[in-house]
């Protein structure tokens, strides 16, 4: 246990070891650790970003789904309205057509009635005249009373 040259030898050895460690061992390891730390941090940040984007996409998806639903509802209601319109229009058309046909039929009927009345009147007049002739033949000169007879015939 004597203090001797070993003291200085140990100091020098120690200094060389420290120098070597500082030069060749510490920096690469610390740099690698730092690089890995950064990589992990980047990876975590990227994961966070991805998650955030996923959330945004989900939100967008639900929004567009909602929009599509709204649109579909609108389209359906529009179609219903349009169908109602068509039905109404058809109803109106049918009604108008019916009325038109009714009117035509009535006009025809009136015409027929009128014609029948004319016919009837002509027949009645002829019958009256014939009857009157028969009556007057005995007492009226056909020639003398021709004017009168014609007048009556026209009035009938």
């Amino acid at each position: 246990m004597n203090i001797n040259l070993t003291l200085i030898g140990q100091s020098i050895t120690f200094a060389i070891f420290v120098w070597f460690c500082m030069k060749f061992i510490w920096p690469p390891i610390v740099n690698a650790l730092e690089a890995r730390r950064k990589q992990i941090a980047d990876g975590l940040a990227a994961a966070d970003r991805g998650k955030h984007e996923l959330e945004l996409a989900a939100k967008r998806a639900s929004e567009s789904l909602h929009e599509a639903k709204m649109k579909a509802v609108e389209i359906i209601s529009q179609a219903e309205r349009r169908a109602n319109e068509i039905v109404d229009a058809a109803k109106n058309d049918a009604k108008a057509e019916g009325e038109r046909q009714l009117a035509a039929a009535q006009a025809e009927i009136e015409q027929e009635a009128f014609r029948a009345r004319e016919q009837l009147r002509a027949q009645v007049a002829a019958l009256v005249v014939a009857g009157a002739e028969k009556v007057l033949r005995r007492e009226v000169d056909a020639k003398a009373h021709a004017d009168l007879l014609t007048t009556i015939q026209n009035e009938l």
Partner: protein, 280 residues
């Protein structure tokens, strides 16, 4: 243990003697064959075992870590790389925790101190007669396998740390600042001698306590292993007891060697931090 009937004292002394190379009494250079010869060599001698084991262990540490450092990538680590990274991060956190200035040298210094001292302390767990036994069989008279039980090793490190403390004290505070710190506090300029004495003791105490704490712990631990080993020659019952005791002490010592390495590292960081502080 050697075949000759050693007395306990001789056994203990044998274990506490370094393999010292220096000038022998007859003027030739060689290895001391007795504690007296080693003592007579004076300062200009060198402890071959301390130097050899410490350089070997330091080189082992540098080799393993250098290999790991070369293959260090940012991808997933595996095997030994994991261990190296854990160590590096542990030291880095310690430095970040107690060192407030910026100096790229402190962390590698702390790592070297921690691992190197740990490895040197770890030699204490090798059963104490194995390596000296092999050595004496090879004709080497003494071998002390734990470099940190040699005050030369611990003081060598603590003096290097102390020089760094002085260097950074002068560099960061300036000559005036550092001298002022030593002389003008705590009692102001009229208490200059007292200040210088107090601060001087304070300053010198740093390397001394650093070295003696490590040396004392390891020396005491080694001594207990030696005393336990003495039991092995005292009959079956005591030998068995000795075996159990050795195991228990070794387990406890695992804690001590790690703790001592950690304390040396932490105090080095703290001292260097104090050297970097402008004023406190």
């Amino acid at each position: 243990m050697s075949a000759e009937a050693h007395t306990s004292t001789e056994y203990i002394k044998h274990h506490l003697q370094n393999l010292t190379f220096g000038q022998l009494p007859d003027g030739s250079w060689g290895v001391a064959h007795s504690p007296e010869q080693a003592k007579a060599m004076g300062f200009w001698a060198i402890n071959l075992d301390t130097m050899g084991f410490s350089i070997l262990l330091g080189a082992l540490f540098l080799f393993l870590f250098y290999r790991a450092a070369k293959s260090a990538t940012s991808s997933a680590p595996s095997g030994f790389m994991n261990f190296v990274e854990v160590m590096v991060e542990f030291v880095d956190n310690s430095v970040k925790g107690s060192f407030t200035a910026r100096n790229p040298m402190v962390a590698p210094l702390a790592l070297t101190i921690f691992i190197w001292i740990f490895l040197m302390n770890l030699m204490d767990l090798v059963p104490i007669d194995w390596l000296p036994g092999i050595a004496s069989w090879l004709g080497v008279p003494y071998l002390k396998v734990v470099p940190t039980t040699d005050p030369n090793a611990t003081f060598g490190m603590s003096i290097a740390v102390f020089l760094l403390v002085l260097y950074y004290s002068f560099k960061m505070k300036g000559v005036g600042g550092f001298v002022g710190e030593l002389t003008l506090q705590p009692f102001g300029k009229w208490g200059l001698p007292a200040n210088l004495f107090l601060e001087g003791v304070n300053l010198i105490a740093k390397p001394v306590s650093l070295a003696l704490r490590l040396f004392g712990n390891m020396y005491a631990g080694e001594m207990i292993f030696i005393l336990i080993a003495l039991l092995f020659a005292q009959g079956a019952v005591l030998a068995l007891t000795g075996g159990v005791l050795q195991w228990v002490w070794a387990v406890f010592h695992i804690l001590v060697i790690t703790l001592q390495a950690f304390i040396f590292m932490t105090l080095t960081i703290v001292y260097l931090d104090m050297a970097h502080q402008e004023h406190h």
